[in-house]
Assembly symmetry: C2
Homo-oligomer: 250 residues x 2
Amino acid sequence: MNNAAIIIIGNEILSGRTLDKNSNFIAKRCSKIGIALEEVRIIPDIEKKIIKVVKEFSKKFKNVFVTGGIGPTHDDITAKAIATAFKRKLILNKKAKNLLIDYYKNTHFELNKSRMKMAYLPAKSTLILNQVSAAPGFKVKNIWVMAGVPKIMQSMFLNYVEPKLKKGKIIIAKSVKVDIPEGDIVDILNNINKEFVSIEIGSYPFFLPPKVGTNIVFRSKDNKLLEKCIKKFCSILKSNGIFFSVAKSI
Amino acid sequence: MNNAAIIIIGNEILSGRTLDKNSNFIAKRCSKIGIALEEVRIIPDIEKKIIKVVKEFSKKFKNVFVTGGIGPTHDDITAKAIATAFKRKLILNKKAKNLLIDYYKNTHFELNKSRMKMAYLPAKSTLILNQVSAAPGFKVKNIWVMAGVPKIMQSMFLNYVEPKLKKGKIIIAKSVKVDIPEGDIVDILNNINKEFVSIEIGSYPFFLPPKVGTNIVFRSKDNKLLEKCIKKFCSILKSNGIFFSVAKSI
């Protein structure tokens, strides 16, 4: 199975201070390249919790994306936790060290001992380069560890993670917006469901009075079948006098 | 421990189509009333996965908040999954039925069989009323099940869940914005950490050039100690010529 899961490490998410947008970014990219994202876990900056989830997910999923906790401060414990999880030493990675040296040469900041902490990674890590601020993420086994800052995480993911992931057959998602509440189209949906069993059909009501209605999302790897299913659904809506609009691919 | 966890049920979150804002809302409310949110899990609309996580969390946490999957359509399987998890029957809840009857009397929509499905709840559920669109959430054991639509979930939480939760001592969070990268204040932070061991100190860099800096968040139940710690931190910043600003309580 070409599947994946995300681990978000961050007290700031659990306290409500920060809205997590990293998992949505990764989720969208996974959809685009045909990887099935099966779970997201948001956990606190507690080493033993990180170790437990990392070990569990490493066995369960083909790819595990981790964000957060790789900076220079006392609360950045991800590298150490992952080294412990896989019984590897935390060592000064020479390539990471050189990246930091090159980067800080050209800034007015000093590559002090604290910053050098960011070059200590689990032994035999593969680097995930950071085009924004040099300090790299890393990959151990099937665990991809990226920064928590969205701008840096996104750059790491797009430039160094995604190109190395095995692409799957893309799940195409198309949606139809229906101008009535979902409670009025359940029978229609059930019939469509029975006729097109291989298509995943989701019903998402929205309630923003005076706008009340439902987005029906159809998902499949088979575009022809998807089109056929949507065409049938729309023809039933039409014959029932229900207003709707077909959205572009999403 | 007055702790809690959240289960977000939703393929639409895992596909990246929808950005989850429900967990951030609940996280903020938990912080406000002194409940420690310890984990968030986002899982797909798959009955056996829902059952597994609900059973695990019910044992592990004092309160479990679940959102999503309680509507009238085929993909709304939360009530059935929770009934199965706790070996209860899914029965027509009379109070829920009457709420639906009263509500639909005053709309131009029909209370059809599909909508009546929303009154089928696990036996011995306590209702969580819905001031927006009548169909209630429910509580079984320590599991609070709410709608997935944010407007409805928020109304349920504020009006019917939060008043029934045991309040804890509030964790006060205050932050100081420092106008330099976190790599330049690590030693200062480490010293403060050693002096104020009971205070949780988080360091959150931001990177929005030309704005680069760090938010330091101090969290504690003891406001006096918190103030003392922040005062000390600020005096060290000042003596090092570092610019900063103290934010209001967050």
